[in-house]
Amino acid sequence: MSPHRRVVVTSPQTRLAHARRRSRAAWRAPTLDPVEARQAQRVYRAQRAPALMALGALGVLLFGLPVLLDLLPAWDNVRLLGIPLSWIAIVAVPFPAMVAISHWQLRRAERAEEPE
């Protein structure tokens, strides 16, 4: 028998209760302490601005690039290392840009949550 063997430590009643159908607890209206409510309001406002900026950047990137490629069919014939530039544009531009946006947004969102 290995030394790290796991053993059941719940009582038989607990296991029975877990296995039985449970009526879910009645829903209770959420409440916030005044202090918490003020803090939550502050965090909510602080999160909104970077969220909108990140979404805006993502929207411009994703919806602007197809328009650009549609307007510039000449890019199909420009070649970089033999590969058409328009093919490179749909792989090499969006993915690094999205990684950068999410990194930036993550840092902004975490800083907004720090207590004052």
């Binding site: 296995a19 803090q39 993502l58 197809p66 549609d70 033999g82």
Partner: protein, 587 residues
């Protein structure tokens, strides 16, 4: 034989890794959300492993062969969904304390009808997503092993349901995280090998595509499904047993299960509903389905459906609930963007190589198998066989990981939200749901996997995406508004799907908007939700219910909370009995 070598290790490893997670599954929370103890890195690997389904592993490269370079917008949309998730949904949704999406809806809006409606929506999305997974598993196995279609479907169902029924989400987490690494290696290594092996001529042809108009060599084509070919001139082909078969000009119906060998130099026949790969439209990096003449709108429609749909996929959302707190849920989303970005650099390589080496697949409609068909074209010897086996193993891992997550949300929706029951019921539901999906998948071999999965995304985008975004960021949302919006989104997308399946053929702008309903269905759902909510009055607690989602959790441990570890309720709100117990036991 290849299939046996490829699939057996995946199945065994899946079961082995799954069994490692079996310990200590005793409550519904253990089963559905792995006791919420999954670290961001492990969780993001599991999210990516679950998300990279057959559609990503095989489907994108197949779509490149079929529709052209514009198909590379699909992975962009798939990844962008996680950026939107990170910005809008991840942390607040985890803080709601919910276990499933219907749970979240009830926690935020206190409405049982909404919970039931959300559970039904989960079943619709999961059904649209799960059937093609099982179907592709069956197809790929039947292609590489010449076995019957149903064997692959049944193997997939048995492995998935046993792993889940025994180990639940914890087993699924380890399996999916492991399978992400597995898939990443099995996708990247063969891609590099193929690029090095094909020789300069093929590499040159891959980036200078010419339209596939004539067969360059004697080409056998397996028609797994019935196909109607359109010939301009009479043509003599050879059947599998070597007898010549003259075909007259005009339409020719190829029966299911035949193999025809087209001679070198023969013109490529047309296929109803498809254009030959390699033409000028094929090379444009935009999506223009049905040649409707609106490439920008077609591309936007796919981007909206995949990006907003990802945000509402119930099995992905469920994975975020396994994070210990909101911050780790957010970090999970951020890491996932990076992991997916690495993986999605490679489908384009497979797609362009497949266009050069196996363009005939578009004749039989089997472009989904392009990735696994490539190695044998490059190396007819044992090395090619090994790489075929590796890619088949990766593809099978892709079905398994995705099916695990989907089956879990189906079980959660049925026996946690619709008819609440205990753990035994959950385990049983997993097996029963797998059986139902097998029955649905057996007659669906003809359906296009990509289309079904895109519909799943569209339904999610038009129902759960507005529900989550407005629920988290708009305190005036009411239960009536949410129900009306989800119902409108569901009805709109279901109507469009029904029109595509049974309606008259349409062309132009209407064709795009019916085949890809996301550009109008998502705004419709948002507008209905906002409009109906503004007609009613939100309850007094709705501001608190929303703000609570943005409040950072208290740390359970740490010096500031040294006296009563492990208690989440604030000191002022405890009963006298609790305070007495803490005084006596708390250190």
């Amino acid at each position: 034989m290849i299939a046996l070598f490829a699939v057996t290790p995946v199945v065994l490893l899946t079961l082995l890794v799954g069994l490692r997670g079996v310990a200590a599954v005793r409550t519904t929370s253990d089963f559905l959300v792995a006791s919420r103890r999954v670290s961001p890195l492990l969780n993001s690997a599991a999210v990516s492993g679950e998300y990279l389904s057959a559609a990503s592993f095989l489907g994108v490269a197949g779509l490149v062969v079929k529709d052209g370079m514009g198909a590379l917008w699909y992975p962009v949309g798939f990844t962008a969904g996680y950026v939107a998730m990170l910005v809008l949904v991840a942390a607040p949704m985890r803080r709601s304390g919910a276990v499933t999406v219907p749970d979240f809806a009830e926690a935020r809006l206190a409405s049982t009808p909404l919970r039931k409606l959300a559970a039904v929506t989960v079943l619709v999305i999961a059904g649209l997503y799960l059937v093609p997974q099982f179907r592709t598993a069956g197809l790929v196995l039947s292609v590489v092993s010449d076995g019957p279609y149903w064997v692959g479907v049944v193997i997939a169902a048995v492995v998935v349901s046993v792993t889940l029924a025994v180990g639940g989400m914890r087993a699924a987490t380890y399996v999916q995280a492991f399978q992400f690494c597995f898939k990443l290696v099995l996708f990247i290594v063969p891609a590099i090998w193929l690029l090095l092996q094909v020789g300069p001529q093929v590499r040159h042809d891959a980036v200078h595509p010419v339209e596939f108009t004539h067969f360059t060599r004697d080409t056998p084509v397996d028609f797994g499904l019935e196909v109607t070919l359109l010939l301009d001139d009479p043509l003599t082909v050879t059947t599998a047993d070597g007898t010549p078969l003259p075909i007259r000009a005009g339409e020719y119906r190829v029966a299911e299960g035949t193999t025809l060998v087209f001679p070198a130099g023969a013109p490529v026949p047309g296929v109803r509903g498809g254009a030959a790969p390699g033409g000028p439209d094929w090379q444009r990096p935009l999506l223009d389905p049905h040649d409707a003449g609106h490439p920008v709108l077609g591309t936007w429609a796919v981007l909206i459906a995949t990006m907003l749909g990802t945000m509402g996929l119930p099995h992905v959302l469920m994975r975020f609930h396994t994070s210990p707190d909101g911050r780790s849920a957010r970090r999970t989303a951020a890491i996932t963007v990076g992991l997916l970005s690495v993986f999605y650099l490679f489908p384009g390589i497979y797609g362009t190589l497949a266009k050069v080496l196996v363009p005939q697949l578009y004749l039989s409609g089997a472009t989904d198998t392009a990735v696994v068909a490539l190695p044998s074209q490059v190396d007819a010897g044992s090395t090619g066989t090994v790489f075929t086996a590796l890619l088949t193993a990766g593809a099978f891992a892709a079905f398994l990981a995705t099916s695990l997550g989907l089956l879990l949300v189906v079980a959660g929706a049925i026996s946690h939200d619709l008819v609440p029951g205990g753990l035994a019921r959950l385990r049983f539901t997993v097996v029963a749901a797998a059986a139902v999906v097998v029955l649905l998948a057996l007659p669906s071999a003809r359906l296009d996997a990509g289309v079904l999965v895109t519909w799943g995304f569209t339904v999610a985008a038009a129902t759960f995406c507005p529900l989550l975004v407005l629920g988290i960021w708009w305190s005036r949302l009411t239960a009536a508004g949410a129900i009306a919006g989800v119902a409108a989104g569901l009805a709109g997308t279901a109507g469009a799907i029904a029109l595509t399946l049974f309606g008259p053929p349409v062309s132009g702008l209407a064709a795009i908007l019916i085949a890809q309903p996301a550009p109008w269905a998502v705004p419709l759902a948002f507008a209905t939700m906002v409009g109906v909510s503004l007609l009613g009055r939100p309850p007094a607690w709705s501001q608190a219910a929303m703000l609570r989602l943005h409040l950072r959790e208290r740390r359970d441990t740490g010096p500031a909370w040294g006296r009563d570890p492990g208690h989440s309720s604030p000191v002022t709100r405890r009963s006298s009995a609790t305070r007495r117990v803490i005084r006596r036991l708390g250190r």
